[in-house]
Symmetry: C2
Subunit: 218 residues, 2 copies
Amino acid sequence: MTTIFSQINDKEKQKLLKYLESNTAKFNSNTSISSFVKSNNVIGIIMDGYIQIAKTDYKGNRVIIEELEENEVFGTMISSLKSNEYEIITKEETEIIFIDYDRIIHCEQTNKEYYQQFIRNLLAIIISKIQEKNERIEILTQKTIRNKLLEYFNIVSKKKGSKYIYLPFNFIDLADYLAVDRSAMSRELKYLKEEGFIEIKGKKITLLYDRDSSIYIY
Amino acid sequence: MTTIFSQINDKEKQKLLKYLESNTAKFNSNTSISSFVKSNNVIGIIMDGYIQIAKTDYKGNRVIIEELEENEVFGTMISSLKSNEYEIITKEETEIIFIDYDRIIHCEQTNKEYYQQFIRNLLAIIISKIQEKNERIEILTQKTIRNKLLEYFNIVSKKKGSKYIYLPFNFIDLADYLAVDRSAMSRELKYLKEEGFIEIKGKKITLLYDRDSSIYIY
DNA sequence: AAGTTAATGTTGCAATTGCAACAAATTAAA
DNA sequence: TTTAATTTGTTGCAATTGCAACATTAACTT
């Protein structure tokens, strides 16, 4: 997996961060860092920790936009955070490097190999972010809660190459991620259990159907 | 708006395309070009024309993933097209430049200004693609057809800075884009008309409510 | 360990939606 | 211009969902 500093050694990294006028900040757990991001057009690189980007609309519906951990990148442009309906919250103690986006694009170090590598890494990271969004869209375009759940399970299961899934979040957040009502989702999970499609023990879910056979459809 | 060859003159462009071993292909209208894309890890640049990327699942539900016109970019990684549930179809006569993704990343021309500009352009295009996907996700996370429609109208209206919207696609495709049943959407549009929120004349929709007042909520 | 808070599970019910089947209107083709 | 094909509009009905309200369980706090 590509990280933003892949194939850039520590000395070069320090140089790069200096030229890009980066700022490093540390945040406690459960802290809103929205104000840091919204003021400027910045990119944030998570060096350590875990954050969530969520949106709460007028009705109080909360939707998780992104979940980000170590080495992941977010930013004003990348995540469209301008509106103040968005909240960026640390879920652990988190260290973030902030870089002004314009500095990245208009850096004078363009002929330095490490700068070019940095850009290529950024490109790779952003492309993988698109893939994540595509997956999310695939899930959200499913018309029933059941199919959203199964689509989600399949994607996670395929990635891990295993029938065993460990939910990266609790059921409240899963419902927000799938954009469905939590209690309705809970009901559907119950049915899926009763019908023998899945098994749930805490955050561990076992898929009892064959992903590729498409039999689970009905 | 940034295009892939922004700030690259024609001579440089030709050089670049040569070094990147690009292939140009022309397609008739209503032609599937999926096979061209799936074989390799390529990026396609639409020089002229219009294409749609759509997915049809086991149930026959068709969902439009992307709509692309001149100067836009798509690709195996960018659009996660590997699965054969995807169809890439030209909607007009279309000319596309294909470039192998690895060639872009491992080009020997890295110290040439035009190459660096190309990469920066690619980065900008991909970032704007993320923003589009975020918008799509915002729409899809709405829980009712009404709210999906209004969210969609608001986004389009905000972009154009106008209360008048011209649908870029027909109602069948709009329903696919919103991932809702067409007839149910049609019904909801009727209600919105009856309640005085919108006016529809063909593909022209007039928003009769104040986008920012949030009164349309109820 | 007891008390408090948060997460999960459950259920009835009304609202929303998808589906199916068809009518009307529009567009394309012959 | 007539015919055919596609798109749009309409409606009843069953299935699915959101919502609300509450019970149970798990996770923190002190």
